[in-house]
Structure formats: C-alpha cells, structure tokens
C-alpha cells in the first residue's frame, strides 16, 4: 500500500516542510516497495546511501520544492561511487568517480537517489529487452514491455516506486516508455540539460529529461535540472525560467498543428481516436487545430538508423578492455579488442555498431551520412516553418500501446517503427512531451505527444497540464496488478 508515494510532489513538499513526515519516511517506503517489486525496474539500488542522505537532509534547508523527494536515475547517467552499467555486461562493474552534471543538480535540489534504473543496453532499443539484466515490466500489465530505452525509469514512476525518474532520449527513449506506462515524460530541447556524465549513444541526439506522474511535477523537476554547463560545449546558456509559470493559463487562442503523417494509417485506430478527441477538446476550449505537412517525417527511422548508429559506432569504440569495463583474457591487442567487444556487448549493440560502421565506411559516408544530415536539416527547417504559424504540434506518441514481452525481438525493423513518431523531435533538436490521454480496450495507456519550438517547454507544460486536468484520468495502477 502506498502511504505517500502516490502523492504529487507539491503534496509531499507540504508534508515535508510541515514536519509531518521526514525524508527518511519516503525513502523507507520506496525501499519497502522496490524490494518487494517484481517489475525488474532497477539494476542497482542504493539503500544505505539513500538512508544516510535522508538523515543528513533532516536538518537541511527545506525550501527546495524537491527537498527530500526520492528519485531513480537511468543507469546510463554517471553516479560517483555507484556502479553505472548501461545495462551492459561491458560496464557491469563500472563505478564512475565523477557525478554527471545532472546528478549535481539532483543533489543541489535536495533529492535522494534510490537507485539506477533498468534500460536497453547502452540505450539501444525500444523495449528495454536488450538489457543484460533482463527486461523491466509494465506496471499496467506485467506481461508487457515498459518500452525503451528508459523502460526501468517509466516502470519505477508508473509502479509508484519513486515519484521521479530521470531518463534519456535519443530517439524517443523517454517519451515512448512514458506513453506505454501512462506517465509524463519530457525530452527537453537539445542543449537544455548538460550531457556531461551521460554515457553517449548518439551525441547529436541524446538528451536527459524528467519522468513523473503528472505535468506539474515534471515542470518542477525540469526547473532543477537545467543550467549552463561550461564543460558541455552543446549546453545552452540561458536565463533561468520557471517551467511551471504558464500552467493554469487559459489555452484560448493557442494555435495547434497536427502533422497528417502522425494520424495516418501507421497509427492504431484506438490511439488515433483518442488523439482526435483531444483535438476536439482543444477546439471546444478556444484553441485552433490545423492539419499540416512536415517534410521527411516518413524518413525519420532511416535518418535515425544512419545518424544515431553512425555516432554510436564511434562513441562505443572506447570500450576496448584497456582502461575500464570488461576486459577479456587475451594474448594480443587484437584478440583483446575482439574478445572484449564480442563478449562484453549484447547482440543489438553489436548489430548497431556494425551497421553504423558500415554506413560511415568509405563512400558510404557520402551516400548515407552526409545525405542524412541534409535531410535532417531540411526536416528541421520544415519544423521551423510550422512554428512560425503554430504554438505547438501534437500527435500520438506511439503507433500502438505497449506490446507483450518477447514480441518484436525477432523483427528489428518493428521496434524501430515504434519510434517513428518520436524520432523527428530528436532530429530537429526540439522538446517533446508525453502525457497520458486515455486507455485502449485492454486498459493499456495511450499517450499524446506535444512538440514545442526550441526552448518553449513552458508552453508545452501549459497545454499538457490543461489536457491532464480536463481528462482527469485515473492513472493509478491498481494495487492487485502490483502484487
């Protein structure tokens, strides 16, 4: 039974500030639940550290809205002294000696890290089934996937094991599992949150973001994670802003666009219906909704394969068994490389490294990579055009609801197609937000994807919060599903 962890951050904050509960109460409840959980959402839990920190925080300043709130961290974000595995045999015993930038931010805000969440190996996948530690489960139906690659983080939040989790999103890896698990997940604008300490997959696409139960919580967490990092050259240097500031404002006059491709036949009809009924809701409340075309959306998966895998093949070259991570016994350097990488990486990671290497080889670089960058740029310009006329773009986050564990693993293309609606956002460096908008006939969550112009997260939260309030869904997983 949840005592506190099903409450919102604002409610928890009031209890903590008034002294009715202590941070330790939340930590103990979190560990009570996660130790009895069969979601396989965590790779590593850090109970001792969390309890120690909860005690330290008792006499600390309580003004931060996130003071004393437990948080789970995706296991590709470096945590000093706590192993960071990327769900890979390669890093099974890797303990970073520096915290990621976001971990500093998490600590500054007074949050308490309870553990490292399960994910696809090196964030490569859409189901979290490529994890070396086995797949996390969907709290709504434990025979189904939580999505990926931030599946563990989504499972933690939906399963009420912690109120907040951090995910990372290279081609939908926050938004897609958030949609599958019925939670709120934000991939902020590229550069919004420093990537220092995030173990790279596709460096030009990767972005860390918050995953929470509701929109307001999400905006609060984003407030704490942003800020200029002089040690990440892609970090944006902007004045501080409050991402909650537009929440509650009237949406009258907002101009919303829906790309035709996002409601084409690739999308499941139940999902399409739900999205269109949200469009009606918006119109009823004074917003305009237009159907538009954005260039190259249908090529998103191809672009992703070329760019993300090309970058990944290079980013993962450092795992050679020489300095850190898994190192196979061998008699020569070549054998060391071959054995370490053959044994240390799982098959999906190896497949992507090989595809990426092939795409960058010799003349292929021009034929594929350079061309992909051109198409990417053209897609970005097409989004820019749309944002001259519209405040926000919406559509479904996924083409289907979460499917059953084990499905799709034999069809590599299928898992990529899951992400066709979310990838364009990474390609264009835009922010993307998932909010739950309903359930299908099997009572599996359906998500709405809200896309904003660069650095307009506050506007997205405004719309998201409005829809959330109007729909007023019961997003609490039934406890019997949880046992």
């Amino acid at each position: 039974m949840s005592k506190y962890l099903d409450l919102s951050i604002r409610e928890l904050h009031e209890l903590l500030v008034s002294g009715k509960i202590k941070p330790k109460d939340l930590v103990l409840e979190a560990f009570d639940k996660l130790e009895n959980s069969d979601l396989n959402a965590f790779i590593t839990v850090c109970k001792d550290e969390a309890l120690k920190r909860a005690e330290e925080l008792e006499n600390a300043d309580k003004s931060s809205m996130l003071y004393g709130i437990p948080i789970a961290i995706k296991d590709n974000i470096n945590t000093k002294g706590i192993r960071t595995t990327c769900a890979s045999h390669m890093l099974e015993n890797f303990v970073p000696f520096e915290d990621a930038f976001v971990i500093d931010k998490v600590n500054e805000a007074g949050m308490i890290i309870v553990g490292k969440t399960n994910m696809d190996e090196f964030a490569m996948g859409s189901t979290s089934q490529t994890s070396y530690f086995g797949a996390p489960k969907n709290p709504w139906d434990k025979t189904r996937i939580a999505g990926g690659s931030s599946g563990g983080s989504a499972s933690v939040v939906a399963g009420l094991l912690a109120p907040i989790a951090l995910g990372s999103d290279t081609g939908g890896s926050i938004r897609q599992p958030a949609s599958y698990c019925g939670i709120v997940g934000m991939k902020p604008t590229y550069g919004r949150i420093s990537r220092r300490g995030l173990i790279a997959f596709g460096s030009s696409l990767d972005q860390i973001g918050p995953m929470t139960k509701n929109v307001y919580d999400n905006a609060l967490v984003l407030n704490s994670l942003v800020g200029y990092d002089e040690f990440d050259l892609t970090s944006s240097n902007r004045e501080a802003e409050d991402f909650t500031r537009l929440i509650g404002e009237d949406i009258k006059g907002m101009k919303i666009a829906v790309p035709n491709y996002f409601i084409s036949d690739i999308v499941d009809s139940e999902i399409k219906e739900n999205v269109l009924s949200v469009c009606e809701l918006l119109k009823e409340n004074g917003a305009t909704v237009d159907f538009i075309d954005i260039k190259h959306l249908e090529h998103a998966v191809t672009l992703y394969q070329i760019i993300a895998m090309g970058e990944a093949s290079s980013n993962l070259a450092r795992f050679d068994g020489v300095r850190f991570g898994y190192s196979a016994d061998s008699n020569s350097v070549d054998e060391l490389y071959a054995k370490t990488r053959a044994e240390g990486f799982g098959s999906e990671v190896k497949r992507r490294i090989m595809v990426g290497s092939y795409l960058l080889s010799g003349d292929n670089a021009k034929e594929y990579y350079t061309k992909a960058l051109q198409v990417r740029n053209s897609m970005k310009e097409s989004f820019d055009e749309a944002f001259k006329k519209y405040d926000l773009i919406i559509g479904p986050t996924t083409t289907t609801v979460a499917y059953h564990l084990g499905e799709g693993m034999d069809d590599v293309r299928k898992t990529f197609l899951d992400d066709v609606l979310v990838i364009p956002v990474n390609m264009a460096g835009l922010p993307g937000l998932n909010i739950p908008i309903g359930f299908n006939h099997e009572h599996m969550p359906i998500g709405l994807h809200i896309i904003g112009n660069r650095f307009e997260e506050a506007k997205m939260y405004k719309l998201g919060s409005f829809i959330e309030k109007e729909l007023n869904l019961d997003l609490k997983v039934k406890e019997e599903n949880h046992e």
Binding site: P96, I199, L233, G310, E311, V322, R323, L360, G362
Partner: protein
C-alpha cells in the same frame, strides 16, 4: 648520376606550446611522471565530453598566418575513427573538412636560390598516448593523450634532400620564433613523415611514406635511401607499391611497416560534441599583432646594420641569443653581435649554460658596448671583464675600477709616456716621417704596452700624431 628525379612531400606534426591539452583542462606538461597528467576526458571515460582550448586555436591560427595560408574562419572538428591502444576514444578529433589554414607557402633558399614550397593545409588535432614497448609487455603513458598538435602538409614540391631539409629547418625556425612549438625532434614535439617518389619524366611515380624520422639530417638520409631503393626496384623491372615505411638510422635504410590496402577507412564524420564556431577578424588581427619579427626579416635588418653573415647565422639559429641581441643592439649592432656570438656564446657553450643562467643583463652589456665604442676599454680588458659580468654581474664602471682597468685619459700623464716612447724609438719616428703607416701602429703599441693597456687609445692616437708632427 641517376636519371630519376625525386619528388618529395612532407607532413610535419608539431605539438603546440600550450598550457593545457587540446580538449581538456589537463596540463600539457612534457616530462611529467607517467600517467600523472590525465583526467577522465584524456582517458575517454564514459560520459566525458571534449572542451576546446582557445589558446591552441590561436597558436594554430598564428602558424597558418605565418605560413601564408588562407584562413578558414569556420572552425569545426571531425572524428577520425580507428582502433589502437594509444587512442583512448577509438577516434582522434581532427579537422578533416575545414583545416584552419589552406593554400599557403614557405620560402626556402638552397644554394643561393629562393624557392617556394607550397603548403596544402595546416590542421589542428590531438596527440595520442605514448606506447612504450618492452620485450614481453607494452606500457601506455596517457600524459601525451590530447596534447594539441598541428599537422602541416606540403604539396609534392621538393626534389632534393637539401630542399627537404631546408624546408624543415625553415619551418622549425618559424615556429620556434613565433613561440608556436618547441619543435624538439628528440622529444617528439616535431615529427616528420616523408613521401618520396621517383620518376624519369614529369609524371609522378608511386610514392611511399616514411614515418617518424628522428632528425632533419635523417630526413635527408631517408630520402636518399628510399630513392635508391625505389630506383633499384624500377631498374630491375619491378614496381613500387604504395606503402608505409620507417627509417632505420643505424643501417641508413628504410624498412617496410605496412602495405597500404585500398586506402585507410577512417570513417570520418563531424564531431557532434563540438559546435562549429567562427574566428572573427578582430581575433585574426590580434593574433597577427602577436607575431614577432621572423628570421627572414631579422636577417635583412641585420645585414643593413652591417652585422656579418656568420654572426647573423649564429644569432638566428639561437633564438634566445637573438632576442637578447634585439634588446641591446641599438648602440652598436656590430660590436654587440661580436660580443654575443663570440665571448658570450663560447662561455655559455663551455659551461653548458643559457642566458637566463648568467648574471649578464641588458644594462651592463649596453654599458660595455658603449665603452668599447668610445675606446674607453681595451679588448684585453674586455676579455677580463666579460667573465666577471657573466659570473657575478654588477656595474661595468665599478668592476673596471675594482680591477684597475681605469683608463689614463689625462693628457699630461699620457704626454709623458708618448714623449718617452718617441725618444726611445728614433727609427720608427724616422719611418713615420718617411710615410710608413706601420710605424705609427708600432708606436701606438709601445705606448699601450708602457701604459699597461690603460691608456685611452683615442687620446694616445691624437697626442702621438700631434707630437710627431711638431
């Protein structure tokens, strides 16, 4: 005499003289304890991201300006991917698409003839770690990992060993003068790869690359050895294969390292962690203004001042002496250059010292030059005084007093000596009167001897002529 014409192109890597590494804040500290100058970026730890050293960009820009290159104002980097234990990231960050400088040239002079060596490009990259191989083990020192490098690539414009060596000497001279690199080949802060081909006509032959040659003179030897090897193959009906070789100093031969297969596949692509940026005209002008007088300019200036060629050569080849000379030359460049390249340099060489180790400074050297010019000190006295200045320092005037080097400039005192010498050397007086100039010199010498070198020669000369002509 061979019928073949050699064609040579050279790639030089120079480590930049920066405080920190190219893509991290670790110190660029040659000679430090192994693996002590490293952080997570240099070791490519997961989650690390590169920074950009603006100082290194400015040094590379300076080099590109000195080599008369067109400047690519858009600075961006690329990844060159390959596996090697000394390359921690599995890729090197380099400039493949937009090298900072292109289409430059360097003027060399061989046998009195000026020649232009064209520079294809100059680009910025990072050094690898250092592998230390022992019989059964290899060790890696990551101190060098990420040290800023510039690579300077020439066109295939050189045709003799002398031209190649003159180019390298010139390049080193320029970079040392402009404070871009130490260019110490023995420490690896300058490294040369030489491409050599031979041909009987104007078409270029197949080239080989000889890597990491240890000194400029070895570059000459390597070119000779490699062109002879190629000629022997061609003369015996063989074909040259594109390959990478190394130079064996002991046997004076090039040795095969690896045959180049279908071209290396480095899978270049733009470095996503470093956003491209523009160098402004202001920045370029500010770097330009930092470029000191370079050797060619100094040479012609010194010639105009009347400094002899030997002294010029010595000064230019020793940057420390040259910049010292620049500071003290105003009063009399000829005397000053003689002192610096003569007694001072030989003292330094003998004692294995550099200028900063000795007490001689700008002020006392200038004072000494003044005294020499005004003939207030004899050359013999200079020989005594200079070592004192170098060892103990101090004021020239004081030292002269202390060591009884005070000149007799008092006319009456000198007149007595002059009269004495004239009266004891009637023959010479006679010779002088008969127009023999040598006699005057002899008499001068006698007077100086009589005064134990303390007579002011200018005054003596004046008095002697006056007395003789009475």
């Amino acid at each position: 005499m061979s019928n073949y014409k050699k064609t040579v192109g050279i790639e030089v890597h120079c480590e930049l003289k920066t405080k920190t590494k190219m893509f991290s804040n670790t110190l660029n500290n040659y000679g430090a304890k192994e693996n002590s100058q490293v952080n997570t970026i240099d070791l490519a730890y997961p989650g690390s991201l590169p920074l950009v050293n603006k100082g290194a960009i400015n040094l590379a820009l300076k080099a590109a300006l000195i080599l008369n290159c067109k400047i690519n104002k858009l600075v961006c980097f690329d990844r060159k991917n390959y596996f090697y234990p000394d390359l921690p990231k599995g890729y090197q960050i380099t400039q493949a698409r937009h090298p900072i400088g292109v289409d430059g040239y360097v003027m060399i002079n061989v046998g009195g003839i000026d020649k232009k060596v064209r520079i294809h490009d100059i680009h910025i990259e990072e050094d690898t770690a250092k592998s230390i191989h022992q019989t059964d083990k290899s060790y890696l020192d990551f101190n060098r990992s990420g040290v800023p490098l510039i690579e300077i690539v020439t066109e295939a414009d050189m045709h003799t060993e002398e031209e190649a060596m003159a180019y390298l000497t010139k390049l080193r001279e320029l970079f040392v003068y402009a404070d871009i690199s130490d260019c110490k080949m023995e420490e690896g802060s300058m490294r040369c790869d030489v491409n050599v081909s031979i041909s009987k006509d104007d078409t270029l032959g197949v080239r080989t690359e000889t890597k990491n040659i240890g000194s400029i003179s070895s570059v000459g030897k390597a070119i000779t050895a490699e062109s002879i090897r190629q000629e022997e193959i061609l003369e015996n009906g063989g074909v040259i294969v594109e390959e990478t070789r190394r130079f064996d100093e002991k046997d004076c031969k090039t040795i095969l390292m690896r045959v180049k297969e279908t071209g290396n596949d480095y899978r270049y692509f733009p470095e996503p962690n470093i956003p491209e940026f523009e160098i402004t005209d202001d920045e370029i002008n500010s770097v330009k203004s930092e470029i000191p007088k370079l050797p060619d300019e100094l040479r012609s200036e010194y010639r105009t001042l009347g400094v002899n060629e030997n002294n010029i050569k010595t000064l230019i080849s020793n940057r420390e002496l040259c910049s010292f000379f620049e500071k003290v030359k105003e009063f009399d460049p000829i005397i000053t250059s003689n002192l610096i390249t003569g007694d001072i340099l030989s003292y330094l060489n003998k004692n294995n010292l550099s200028l900063k180790d000795i007490k001689l400074n700008e002020d006392n050297l200038k004072e000494l030059v003044k005294k020499i010019k005004n003939s207030e000190i004899s050359s013999k006295q200079v020989k005594t005084l200079l070592p004192i200045l170098m060892e103990k320092g101090g004021n020239v005037e004081d030292i002269m007093k202390e060591h009884g080097m005070v000149q007799i400039s008092d006319d009456s005192a000198l007149q007595t000596i002059v009269d004495k010498v004239i009266s004891t050397n009637p023959e010479s007086v006679n010779d002088y009167k008969n127009g023999k100039d040598r006699a005057l010199k002899y008499l001068m010498g006698q007077i100086m001897k009589e005064s134990r070198g303390q007579a002011n020669p200018v005054t003596v000369n004046k008095l002697l002529i006056e007395t003789l002509n009475k």
